[in-house]
């Protein structure tokens, strides 16, 4: 009886150690699924910061980098110089999604820091971003012919670009 119980204990113990060392060694999965592999949601009457209606086809032609930003977002300011650099180099179009922002503050922000975007979608209520699966700012999507191939939550910089985005070019 005693020996049996001890063996049961040893079995549990070994399983326990194995399980937690596995859990410590494996990289953590991201909590929410990324939007990779999905098509862009279609929404009528998107407008840019000037109030002009956006042609939906401009989002789904060729390689488009969608970047969610706002003037209240501190990390967006951090990644802004990198986006400016990117807009001059690679063969891709950068389109902003101005997320839950004040129109005049957003325009000021672009005036002060430069405008790397071909245009920015003015998403005051965050409705388009919600459909897109955005949970906050900044987030960046690489879209090829209307299909999201890469989704990044958080800051984007040279290292992230080289590690995760470069393969698509």
């Amino acid at each position: 009886m005693k020996r049996l119980l001890f063996l049961i204990f040893l079995g549990f113990f070994a399983g326990f150690i194995y399980f937690f060392s596995l859990s410590l060694s494996k990289p953590k999965l991201s909590d929410i699924t990324l939007q990779e592999g999905k098509m862009l949601p279609s929404i009528q009457e998107l407008v840019d910061l000037n109030g002009d209606i956006i042609d939906e086809r401009s989002l789904s032609n060729g390689k488009v980098l969608l970047n969610v930003w706002a003037s209240w977002c501190i990390t967006c300011l951090v990644e802004h110089p990198f986006l400016s650099k990117l807009s001059k180099g690679e063969d891709l179009i950068i389109i902003g999604i101005n997320y839950k922002d004040d129109l005049s503050k957003a325009k000021n922000y672009l005036d002060e820091n430069g405008d790397p975007y071909k245009f920015s979608i003015f998403d005051y209520k965050g409705y388009y971003a919600l459909k897109l699966g955005v949970t906050g700012a900044p987030e960046t999507f690489l879209v090829i012919d209307g299909k999201i191939v890469k989704h990044r939550i958080g800051e984007i910089n040279q290292k992230v670009w080289n590690d995760e985005f470069k393969v698509f070019f």
């Binding site: 909590d31 929410i32 699924t33 939007q35 839950k100 965050g126 919600l130 699966g133 949970t135 906050g136």
Partner: protein, 136 residues
Amino acid sequence: MGKLIKKFGMMNLKYFFKLIALFCLLANSELLYKNLSEEQLVRLNYLSDNIRCPKCSYGNVSSSNAPISKDIKNEIATLIKDGYSDDEIFELMKNRYGNYILLNSGEDKMPIYLIPLIALIISILAVTTYTIKKSK
């Protein structure tokens, strides 16, 4: 029997209170989600209690103050109004954010419901039979 007790339960009283509240609205103030019926409001509460805030480390959509939670709650309200069923809304949220944000009991959570139940029954039976045997 279940229905009988539910009928005398506090639920009816709650509806009654909420109904009064709806009638007594004054100008300039409004209930958010006021265009939902009583039944739909209950569904909204159920759904937002069982969908996790995707941006927070813990807490559901109804208890979190994060902007994204408010957006999701609003969207659920819209979806309810558009005639989506609870399951369809759960499915839609799951497709967008992943399984992680569902807090309701799904099939993938069956083991943790069954294991304690089985353990309880087996241990009570084992201890009782052993005790009876020893007592004799």
